[in-house]
Each structure stands twice: as C-alpha cells, then as structure tokens.
C-alpha cells in the first residue's frame, strides 16, 4: 500500500476544514479504505472531538517525532470502523513550531505504507502551521464558503499550493445556501468557480446536522441521511475517481421548483 496524502486547507479560518476532514475520512473508511485522519492543528486541536475520539488519546505525533513512543501507539483506532479508520492526534499543549516541514514529510512517509489515505486537517492561514501540515501532502482540497473573505483567501492558498507543487488541487464549497443563491443574495457555484478557476470536487449545503454531529462526536457520514452527509459521501466517491454527477445549481434559474429539487440533490 502507498497512501494518497491529501491536505484539507483554507485561507480563512472557520470555513469547515475540520468538519470536512472528519466526514471525508469516515466516508472513505466506510468505502473499505484504510484511512488515517491527522490533526495538523497543533495547540488548537479539534479533530479528536469532532470525530468523538478525545477520550482515547494517549500519545500524539509530537511524541512520535520526539521518540517518546512508537507510531502505532499514537494511532487511535476508531472502533466504529475498526481496522479502517484511525486518528493521529496533535499535541494540545504545544505550538506550531514543535515540528518542522521535514519532520511532517517524514511522518507522512511512515504512514504511507500502512494506509490507503492520509487526510491532513490543516490550521487556517498561510503561516508556518499551514506549511507544516501541507509539506507532506501530494494533493489538496481547498475549502471555501461562498463569501467574499473566504473566496479571496482561498485564491491566495490555491496560489501557494500550486507553487508547492500539490496536484490535484480541488475546491469544496461549504455552507452553500440554495435559497440565498436563488434570490441572488449569495455567490453561486459557477460564480465561485469563475473567480477561482480551479476544479470543483463538491458543494456542501448549510446543514444544522453538522452542529448536532459535532455535539455528539459522530460525523454525518456515519449515517449519510442529511444533505451535508450525502454531499460528503459524494466527495469521497469523487476522490475515489467515481463519476458522481455534480448537480449544477443555476443562480439564473427562475424556477423555484428546479431550485428546490436541486436543493436536495447535492
């Protein structure tokens, strides 16, 4: 096995990187892939809680890097998808400069033979934390919401990922609100793609289920019964190279019914 290493990034914070990492990791594991989700957000870790694994952490990857433990000791196995899904936690009481990009590359290379996918949750911004988390990745998924600050910052990140040689770089539009788009009060999927000229891998609607899921520590893709869960399952399928149709939401469409139908068609 040699894992595909995918970093989940954004320019702006709070747009859904951790949510996306958890849901995509679960969805890929449910498809029978061996997945490790790595929390790249040293000092501000969240992925453990969103995945509901916070009580099972003993070691983290800083311990692995500093030789306090072996890699398998730091991996937290998710019992709900035993043998398929693991979490590699970050240290909560350290800072971003606890690791170097070289150490992150080395860590990813240790994980590669053991897994099909290494999914890296990245801290926001364009500073050291981002560079570390992205260092070991082959591919990138950039998250944005359809709002001005997030899209502008996404453009910056895409430029950086390109210059770092990541490929493919694909976009997830998160917290999409069809009714607002229908009313021309929110950038449409096509608007965002026109501006960023990058490949789209999925659109995730605004969904209260996301908050309930993080309350309980059970990512939506375990059940897949909500719009966002379904959108993430589709994204996982597209990562696997499947041709899942991308339903276009056309902002110019004046038919409420078509907008309504499309709303449930992510």
């Amino acid at each position: 096995m040699s894992a595909r290493v995918i970093v989940i990034t954004s320019g702006k914070g709070g747009v859904g990187k951790t949510t996306s990492t958890a849901n995509i990791s679960v969805a890929l594991a449910k498809r029978g892939k061996k997945v490790v989700a790595v929390d790249g957000d040293i000092g501000l870790r969240n992925l453990d809680m969103v995945m509901g694994l916070e009580n099972r952490i003993v070691y983290n990857y800083i311990d692995v890097i500093e030789n306090n433990c072996k890699l398998p000791q730091a991996l937290v196995q998710d019992k709900r998808l035993k043998g398929y899904l693991s979490l590699l936690p970050a240290a909560q009481t350290r800072t971003k400069d606890a690791v170097t990009p070289e150490q992150m590359i080395e860590l990813c290379d240790k994980l590669r033979p053991e897994f099909d996918f290494v999914i890296l949750d990245c801290p926001a911004g364009i500073e050291g934390g981002f560079r570390n988390a992205a260092a070991g990745a082959d591919e990138a998924l950039v998250i944005t919401t359809p709002e001005i600050p997030a899209v502008r910052d996404a453009d910056r990140i895409i430029g950086m990922l390109e210059s770092m040689g990541k490929s493919p770089i694909r976009l997830i539009i998160n917290r999409f609100r069809p009714i607002m788009v229908q009313n021309n009060d929110m950038l449409s999927q096509d608007d965002v793609l026109d501006i960023l000229s990058v490949d789209l891998i999925g659109v995730v609607p605004e969904d209260d289920g996301v908050i309930r899921a993080s309350n309980s520590g059970e990512p939506l893709t375990f059940e897949q019964s909500t719009p966002a869960g379904e959108a993430y399952a589709n994204i996982a399928a597209r990562i696997l190279g499947e041709n899942v149709p991308m339903l276009q939401f056309d902002a110019n469409s004046q038919s409420f019914l078509s907008g309504f139908k499309k709303m449930f068609g992510f």
């Binding site: 001005i148 502008r152 910056r156 430029g159 021309n184 009060d185 929110m186 608007d191 000229s197 110019n252």
Partner: protein
C-alpha cells in the same frame, strides 16, 4: 443582462453580482501584486527601447497586467506612427 432577467430577478445589481464583481477585481490585483511605481518604470523603459526602432504615439499607450485562469500576462497596446529605417540611433 437581459431585460427579462432584470425584470424577474434584478440580477444585474443583486448582492451576489456585486460580490462577484468586487472579488474579481480584488483578486486580479492580489494575483499580480505589482506596484504602480514598478509599472510606471517599466513603461518608461519600454518607450525608451521602442523609440530606437519606431516612432510611437506615447500619449495613447496602454500597458497593464491582465489575469485570467490563474495566469497573468503583460498586455501592451502601443500605437506605431512610423517604423524607422536603418540602424537605430544610439
């Protein structure tokens, strides 16, 4: 923007359209990160070189950076009045 879409949705001045226009503009600047001073110096030096070979209409020169599809190009529109014959005078 067609009459009908204006009538039905007012898309031409909708808040989504305003957002798109503002983003397109600011991102084209972000991507090219070049100061007006640098552009002015470039313009002067280009004129200096070009006038060795041809007579150009300096008042109607248009030089700028153009971004699309994640690529930036230097676009210059320089009206030529007359090509000089022989060697350039140094």
């Amino acid at each position: 923007m067609s009459f009908f879409s204006n009538l039905l949705g007012g898309k031409s001045n909708s808040s989504a359209k305003v957002a798109k226009d503002r983003l397109t503009l600011v991102i084209s600047h972000d991507r090219t990160d070049i100061s007006p001073q640098l552009l002015e110096n470039l313009r002067k030096e280009m004129i200096a070189v070009l006038t060795k070979y041809m007579e150009i209409d300096e008042s109607n020169i248009d030089i700028g950076l153009d971004s699309n599809d994640r690529e930036t190009s230097l676009v210059a529109n320089i009206p030529v009045v007359r090509i000089k014959r022989g060697q350039p005078n140094r």
